[in-house]
């Protein structure tokens, strides 16, 4: 079902085993660095994707470690940043029911969706026609990161006549 017009820079398929998440975090951080994200943004991107995969393991697969999760990441040129798709074959959830909880209620759990929505520029959940869920995420470089990673061509110096 994956399509973003061209092949992703990175595609990973993992079992729904929480012990594998640390390995995936390393790949996410590496690509985000290549794209030009600085440390704080990379931390947020890694966290959001990690939370999304944790939610798949917990809610989609009911903590069973034999499920499959696919993670695809594209470098985006316009706007500059990253596009991400996470797919699974777990139990589907009605997208309108996926909501972050009220943070005034201080209690353990239920923070993942809030973190994803708070940290990413785009986050869209949908049920896959063939089963499971698909989450599409996007994160764009901020102005500082853009200037540092993709500096404008400097104006040529004027030579003396």
């Amino acid at each position: 079902m994956v399509s973003m017009e061209r092949e992703p820079e990175i595609s990973i398929r993992i079992f729904s085993d929480p012990h594998l998440l640390a390995t995936v975090r390393g790949a996410i951080d590496g690509l985000a660095k290549c794209v030009g994200f600085q440390d704080k943004s990379r931390a947020l991107i890694t966290l959001a994707i990690d939370e999304a995969m944790t939610n798949v393991i917990r809610h989609g697969y009911g903590n069973q470690t034999s499920g499959m999760i696919w993670l695809h990441m594209w470098r985006s040129v316009e706007p500059r940043g990253l596009r991400i798709i996470i797919e699974d074959l777990g139990k589907a959830t009605e997208p309108s029911k996926i909501k972050g909880r009220n943070l005034e209620d201080v209690r353990p759990g239920g923070l993942g969706v809030h973190i994803i929505k708070e940290t990413m520029n785009e986050a869209t959940w949908e049920a896959r026609p063939s089963g499971g869920m698909r989450l599409t995420l996007a994160k764009w470089l901020n102005a500082e990161e853009l200037a540092a990673a993709y500096p404008s061509p400097s104006t040529p110096e004027q030579s003396e006549p």
Binding site: P18, R25, V106, P108
Partner: protein, 113 residues
Amino acid sequence: MNIPLIIKSSTIETSLVLAPQGDIDMSKAPAMREAIKTALEAKPAKLVIDLSAVTYVDSSGIATLVEALKWTREGRISLTLAGVQPRVKTLLDITKLASMFAVRTTVEEACKT
């Protein structure tokens, strides 16, 4: 693949210090939770969680810290976080939980206050 979370435990005056090392994510949070529960059974005057060697925490780890906060309040035990790393601080800020915890730069400061 299944690397256990290392949690060093020590006592400084009346404080019990727990110092986890590595990431506290969905796979490691249960071990952290058990360590905190066990530590609180000794009913210390103060529990200090030294996060200086923790570079990554996800919402499972945050949930464990919130549980620790709840348990220490119920047991009238003081809880302080020490050595919170920038990425962990960012998560506490995003979840608007930073103000819920007493935070000190070092374990020594946390044990004194």
